[in-house]
């Protein structure tokens, strides 16, 4: 069909999302996302990591047009301006861009049997299909995610968290989307179920050649699933790098601290640690620090960091938003 070069399926440029809040008796705007840019290639999985307040869920909702976006553009291959679409045009894009939610059970209508819930995307977005075709597709996808057709008549509360998540995955894949945004799909699951669902996502990724945006705070899962990773802090991009490069040689001080903070299930290494890799707290989004937002906690911060916002620049295949990225790399803490 087309050339072997990976197509840029999705291009996000300078995304900004803010919303109005009341603070100290005044209306102010809280910047949840600021100047976020990234690409997604075909059949690629991009991980988006960050802690609470980083804006990752906001990003998921912005891409799926569930919340209004203040600034920036998102281009969907070949030339669709995603943020400008409305009505029928927007709904037709939902055939290409779908979402898996964090809490499988909460993402299902408690009053709807799951058979109906699974058919619904087809009913609405692919009305040309006959009932028989819809049923066939539902059955096929149920099998793919490891559930039984006997479950179709049941209600959401009758399922476990892991099963509900499988239903959510099946539902997202009903319309054969090109891109699936996963909003922390593992967060509400038990450890052993997490492993199962991660394996399922890996399998589906390979079988269906899906492009995925995988949003999580769980770094080991991101390492397993993602080809490239984007690190968010206070709604700004700190680093974007190929997975291997990011985990082996993180260039941004925040990425470093994040990786060092992950608990290691090995007493020989972890035992008796008395200091944490990163001190302090994330500043309030109502009063973000000037220049680089990370500077208040960064061990390498200098004057320039308070004056100038660091732009994303490419170093050896990774994009880093840090004035001192080259220097820091030499001196590992």
């Amino acid at each position: 069909m087309s050339s072997s070069a990976p197509t840029r399926l999705l291009e996000a440029r300078n995304l900004g999302v803010s919303y109005a809040v009341r603070h100290a008796g005044r209306q102010v705007r809280l910047r949840a996302l600021d100047n976020v840019s990234f690409d997604l290639a075909r059949a690629e999985t991009l991980g988006i990591v960050g802690e609470s307040g980083s804006g990752k869920s906001t990003l998921a909702r912005a891409l799926l047009r569930l919340i209004p976006v203040d600034a920036g553009t998102v281009r969907l291959h070949p030339a669709i301006d995603l943020l400008r679409l409305r009505g029928t045009a927007l709904r037709s894009v939902r055939l290409r861009l779908q979402m898996i939610f964090q809490d499988g059970i909460a993402a299902l209508d408690p009053r709807q049997r799951i058979g109906e819930a699974l058919e619904e995307p087809l009913l609405v977005l692919k009305p040309q299909l006959s009932e028989a075709q819809r049923r066939a597709r539902v059955r096929a996808l149920l099998e793919r995610v490891g559930l039984e057709t006997g479950h179709l008549g049941r209600f959401p509360h009758e399922f476990s968290g892991g099963q509900a998540q499988r239903i959510g995955i099946a539902r997202a894949l009903m319309v054969e989307p090109e891109i699936v945004v996963c909003d922390e799909p593992l967060s509400s699951l038990d450890v052993s179920i997490k492993a199962q669902i991660t394996a399922l996502l890996l399998q589906l990724k390979q079988d269906l050649h899906l492009s995925m945006i995988f949003i999580a705070h769980d770094l080991p899962a991101v390492q397993q699933l993602c080809d490239r990773v984007l690190v968010l802090y206070m709604g700004r991009v700190m680093e974007i790098a190929p997975s291997k490069a990011l985990f082996q040689r993180p260039r941004h001080p925040y990425t470093r601290a994040l990786l060092q903070s992950v608990p290691i299930p090995d007493p020989r290494v972890a035992r008796g640690r008395r200091t944490a890799p990163l001190a302090g707290e994330m500043p309030s989004s109502l009063a973000p620090p000037s220049g680089c937002v990370f500077r208040t906690r960064c061990p390498y911060a200098v004057d320039r960091c308070a004056r100038e916002v660091p732009l994303l620049r490419t170093i050896d295949g990774s994009e880093v938003a840090c004035h001192r990225a080259e220097e820091i790399d030499g001196s590992r803490t």
């Binding site: 909702r61 569930l66 709904r91 939610f101 993402a107 209508d109 408690p110 009053r111 709807q112 995307p121």
Partner: protein, 279 residues
């Protein structure tokens, strides 16, 4: 069979009692008049305003035209309950749709719709009904419309509030992502998840509606003679209170019981459907 519903009902005997009493009254009002030798409209001028007596056939006495009071009251129940249920149905349907659309669509539509509700709230009810009666005469169906037209306002407000909070729930977002919108969203996802609240408030609307009707009949605006509603019976009885107290007490007691039972039922349902469910 021990479904969780039955278990919870066991903890709320009030619902069963109230429901039972209402059922009894309804059945009585439907069946007994057919079984009685008396009817509600034929005057018997030799038996005017007799007090209740256990022998002689008129258990609750007679009214000023000699008609059996028990039958009159049972007919009054029929009419009052009919008006109550039909008017409540109208108000629930209109109120739910209005509130659900306003709450889900939001923005200017919501503002417009709810300001309309605010304006209608301020319309004085009695002059409104008087005007309608002048235009259309004293018809039974007018009662349905007039009462239903006013009672939907409360339900609309409550439903709108619920719809607003439902809008933010994850499964509504998931439905949006699945392409669901408009009528399907409201009809399939919003309204069914409101039903708990709606049932409770609908049950509590009924007594309000009955009282409205009773009040209007009391003012002489309600049903036409010889039909009677509980309200008109109370009106008639009130004018003759001192000499023949039974003419007032009997319909008043029945009306009070019906209203009490509906309130009890509504309260009980509210407890029962409370999200604090323990399985």
């Amino acid at each position: 069979m021990n479904s969780p519903w039955q278990q919870r009902l066991r903890g709320h005997p009030g619902i069963l009692i109230a429901g039972g009493v209402l059922l009894l009254i309804t059945l009585a009002s439907l069946i007994l008049p057919a079984l009685s030798p008396y009817d509600y409209f034929t005057p018997q001028l030799d038996l005017i305003s007799r007090p209740p007596m256990l022998q002689g056939g008129h258990l609750l006495g007679t009214d000023p035209l000699g008609r059996d009071l028990l039958i009159r009251v049972l007919w009054g129940c029929r009419i009052s309950l009919l008006i109550a249920l039909v008017a409540s149905l109208i108000s629930v349907v209109v109120g739910v749709l209005w509130g659900a659309i306003a709450g889900y669509v939001g923005g200017h539509t919501d503002a417009l719709m709810m300001r309309t509700v605010d304006v209608l709230y301020s319309v004085p009810f009695v002059p409104f009904v008087i005007v309608l009666t002048m235009l259309f005469g004293r018809q039974l169906w007018l009662m349905f419309i007039a009462i239903g037209a006013v009672s939907w306002l409360d339900i609309a407000r409550i439903v709108r509030g619920e719809a607003l909070s439902l809008k933010r729930r994850e499964f509504i977002e998931a439905a949006r992502v699945a392409g669901v919108h408009g009528a399907r969203m409201i009809g399939r996802h919003i309204v069914p998840n409101l039903l708990g609240v709606v049932i409770i408030y609908a049950t509590l609307t009924v007594p309000t509606v009955i009282l409205f009707e009773a009040f209007m009949s009391f003012l002489g605006l309600g049903v036409r003679v010889p039909l009677a509603s509980l309200g008109s019976l109370i009106a008639d009885g009130a004018s003759d209170m001192q000499a023949h107290p039974h003419l007032l007490l009997v319909p008043a007691a029945v009306l009070a019981s019906i209203i009490y039972c509906f309130n009890f039922l509504g309260d009980g349902l509210r407890d029962l459907l409370d999200p604090r469910k323990q399985t």
